[in-house]
Symmetry: C2
Subunit: 144 residues, 2 copies
DNA sequence: TTCTAACAGTTAGAATTCTAAATGTCAACA
DNA sequence: TGTTGACATTTAGAATTCTAACTGTTAGAA
């Protein structure tokens, strides 16, 4: 690997990006047996905990464009993992629900995602874990 | 926003991912005036500091697939920012060089990336910055 | 009641990234 | 010298994500 690198000027940008990619790669590989990727897995998990959530809220939570969420949900619906229903009280919205086929994946997903979370924490002391959580939470709150 | 969320079980996965996306969005917006995105900008910056680096090393550094780097570099070459040369001593490789059109962007890019870096650090004390850097470096080293 | 601005989701098409396979080259070994 | 496995890059096509514009709906003001 090249010796002299410009990331030294922006270490956080680099480290956050690369750690994020590494985690995504691990999660993608973990879910490949289900024919799903990490974003889809995270989305199913989130819907499981938030039955009837509207698409807009998914986009907000994951910081993804509306169109990307639409496209992903279309795929998940097509594969039979979710259904989207227009509520009686607001025809603009679609509320998203897990179908049985989606529900049966959740336990496995949680286990796999937990393993990956531990890939982060296992090299840290309890104190370090608490500190990192505090710092990342602060940064996230501060960023728009 | 939904109250009950499953990210509480995997806070690091969520926070790292979302912070990373937010930074990417800021950087993309920052570079839009040049008709480039953040990955392209980071790549040009890295090539600037590592004249003659081969594609494989770029892929390793950015944790991207070889094919993605090829595709991106093809675009950058087409737009006149870089050139790729096959060295005399190894015909498998292509060494990458900035062209003048690419070089003249570097200063602006550095400034913009520095601003985004400061978006991370400005809410932290010096001590917290050092701690975060230490922790993220440790985690990155520990992840494959 | 009508209008306006904002909202939620979608579409079409482009851009980006990936997968899987392929091609040509190199290094090391027999 | 010949062979083999590894290397670096590319290609074709699929998947994912985005941009920009659009459609239909709602909430609130006039």
């Amino acid at each position: 690997m090249a010796e002299n690198n410009s990331w030294a000027n922006q270490p956080f940008s680099y480290l956050l990006r690369v750690i994020s990619i590494k985690m995504k790669n691990k999660a993608d590989k973990s879910l490949a047996e289900f024919g799903l990727n990490s974003q889809q897995g995270h989305t199913l998990g989130y819907i499981n905990s938030n039955e009837g959530i509207i698409q807009k809220e998914l986009a907000d939570f994951f910081k993804k464009r509306d169109a990307s969420i639409t496209s992903m949900l279309q795929g998940l619906e097509k594969k039979g993992f979710i259904e989207r229903r227009i509520p009686k009280d607001n025809e603009r919205e679609k509320k998203v629900y897990l179908l049985p086929k989606g529900k049966e994946l959740i336990e496995d997903f949680d286990k796999k995602f937990q393993e990956i979370e531990e890939d982060i924490t296992k090299c840290l002391t309890d104190d370090e874990i608490q500190t990192l959580l505090r710092l990342l939470t602060k940064i996230n709150s501060n960023l728009e």
